[in-house]
């Protein structure tokens, strides 16, 4: 992990307040594994407000066209005011202080394709940002990733094309059915699990707490493993401040507090206490 002041290469307006920020940092890009995140200083000066850096999933690694070497990271920023508004306002050439890559990545064991047939990727809103690198890794291991992507309205379903380009099966949902199926993303997931759980499945989820909790409950009911990528307010992201903990259960079923920045952001959904949201 490195703490570097790096350049914004490009910023793409995806509509509805969503922006794809392309950062130039070959070293950090080269270290990145699927599910890891960056801590971005949203203000220009290190002591300017907002003080604390903000965690963002690494959506993609972009590469040098000629050599194919990693050149930097893409992150998805939804402008919800505060620090995110500052990031959304960055221009190409601006510098930003970036710590990372950080955290425990998704688990994709070598040869996973021999044991499971499908990997269900469940994304809600900007939670999609944690899933693209994972989808690629799963394809490398000869599994079949299937994307379940839900939002309130069609505008929430950003960055669908990079998944579609992978040629994987996709299921979209919106609340009113104006794009894809009507209802929650767990609806098509449930149908899929009922049909294929016996063929060997894994669930990987990133999105709002309620969505991940529902995905976890389905995974438990169908007896399939489930990993979730969690969100928490973070202080240092180095494991020191103990501010980003979630309530979880240890092997004996006793309460413990795990740091989202160290033991996460990706954890087995079965360790999480779903009754205690961390935000």
């Amino acid at each position: 992990m490195l703490d570097k002041r790096i350049k914004v290469k490009k910023i793409q307006d995806l509509g509805a307040g969503n922006h794809l920020l392309r950062l130039a940092s070959p070293k950090q890009a080269g270290l990145t594994r699927p599910g890891q995140f960056l801590m971005l200083k949203c203000a220009q000066g290190i002591n300017d407000p907002p003080l604390l850096r903000r965690p963002y999933s690494i959506f993609d690694i972009w590469r040098q066209p000629k050599t194919g070497h990693p050149a930097g990271m893409d992150i998805l920023v939804k402008n919800v005011g505060g620090g995110s508004a500052r990031l959304a306002g960055l221009k190409p050439g601006d510098a930003v202080q970036v710590l990372g890559p950080l955290g425990r990545p998704f688990e994709v064991p070598v040869g996973l394709g021999n044991r499971i047939r499908f990997a269900c990727l469940v994304g809600g809103g900007v939670g999609i940002a944690a899933l693209l690198l994972l989808a690629r890794k799963l394809l490398e291991q000869n599994t079949h990733p299937v994307l379940f992507y839900g939002g309130r309205v069609p505008d929430d379903l950003v960055l669908r094309e990079p998944f579609e380009r992978l040629g994987i099966e996709t299921h979209y949902t919106t609340e009113d059915g104006s794009m894809g199926e009507r209802g929650q993303v767990t609806l098509p997931l449930e149908g899929f699990l009922s049909r294929y759980a016996r063929a060997g499945l894994r669930v990987y989820a990133c999105g709002p707490w309620g969505m991940m909790k529902a995905a976890h409950n389905l995974a438990v009911r169908h007896e399939v493993p489930c990993e979730v990528s969690l969100e928490a307010r973070m202080g240092c992201a180095l494991g020191a401040c103990l501010g980003c903990t979630i309530r979880a259960w240890d092997e004996k079923g006793e309460e413990q507090f795990l740091r989202v920045c160290q033991e996460g952001p990706v954890m087995s959904s079965r360790t999480v206490d779903w009754e205690t949201p961390p935000i």
Binding site: N47, L51, A232, R233, A240, F257
Partner: protein, 319 residues
């Protein structure tokens, strides 16, 4: 952030600056330490900060037995600061001594252990245990944490209690110097500074966090599960500075300034107000190298201002 480099080769430039400070017989290579609870066990920052560039590291509060801490959410950012209610989560003294301290001792810096407990006997137990452990330069008695329901904070209710816990802990640590970390959540910090000094404290860390609150107006719930939290960061600096100034004039033992220090200039203010050393806290969260930057910045300041010994700054406030 590093202070601006002074012009080089000026007429008044001096070659070497004495940066070391002494606190109750222990030499610190410079007056910049990290504050307890903001730098973990030090090792978390080792790949981003040259730990050997620091005067010392005050590690996260240690209790005899491990403590799980408070349920989340535990932190919330506020204007120029943050609230926390971690609740003393720590790995316990035995784990610290066997798993963390040996790695930390490889660095050329001082290790100060902040100690916590839910009652007096727990304080004494962890003090006796650590007093026998090599590799520790001082103990910092935490009687001022606002984020636990019993113990700790209780001893800060009146100067008599502060005297008693300091006196008993002092006697339980015959080998190690004892610092006492004071709470700012009192009417007159001078009374507490005096009581702890009278009880035999070797130094005072002034101050811990200020009790604060933030509310989610949609949910009408506190932003922190614990309810209240300790406010830290630049927001508290002017108040902490005033308290350091008051405490330093009240007692003869060294005062260590803590509270919102983020830049070299902040650290200088505390030294001038009377602090023998400073601790960098919340700044390490958003600028991991803040403490190293400040240690280097102080030396640059002394050089450019023809100050041969950093101790000349201590308590140099003009009236």
């Amino acid at each position: 952030m590093a202070a601006k480099k002074p012009p080089q080769g000026g007429r008044n430039q001096i070659k070497s600056v004495k940066t070391s400070v002494e606190i109750s017989g222990v030499q610190f290579k410079n007056p910049v330490l990290t504050a307890s609870g903001t730098f973990g066990y030090g090792l978390e920052f080792a790949h981003l900060v040259d730990l050997s560039s620091l005067g010392g590291i005050v590690v996260k509060g240690i209790s005899m037995k491990p403590i799980k801490g408070n349920p989340p959410p535990r932190i919330y950012e506020t204007a120029s600061g943050m609230l926390n209610a971690i609740g003393w989560q720590n790995i316990g003294a035995v784990e610290f001594i066997t798993r963390k301290l040996p790695a930390l001792r490889k660095y050329d810096t001082r290790v100060v252990v902040n100690i916590v407990g839910f009652d007096l006997e727990e304080y004494l137990e962890v003090t006796r245990f650590l007093n026998d452990c090599p590799g520790i330069s001082a103990l910092e008695l935490n009687i001022s944490c606002p984020n636990v329901k019993k113990g700790g904070f209780h001893f800060n209710k009146n100067p008599r209690d502060a005297f008693e816990v300091t006196d008993k802990t002092r006697k339980a640590s015959p080998r190690l110097p004892l610092w006492v970390k004071l709470s700012p959540n009192v009417t007159d910090i001078r009374e507490f500074a005096r009581a702890c000094a009278d009880a035999g404290a070797d130094a005072l860390s002034v101050v811990n966090t200020f009790v604060g609150m933030a509310i989610d107006t949609e949910k009408r719930r506190s932003r922190l599960r614990f309810g209240t939290g300790g406010l830290s960061g630049p927001a508290i600096k002017p108040i902490a500075l005033r308290m350091v100034w008051e405490a330093a004039r009240e007692v003869k033992i060294p005062v260590i300034g803590v509270g919102g220090i983020a830049t070299t200039s902040d650290a200088l203010e505390f030294l001038i107000a009377g602090a023998r050393a400073v601790q960098v806290g919340t700044a390490s969260f958003y600028n991991p190298a803040a403490s190293q930057d400040i240690a280097e910045g102080l030396e640059r300041y002394c050089r450019s201002h023809s100050i041969a010994d950093v101790n000349e700054l201590v308590g140099s406030l003009k009236t």
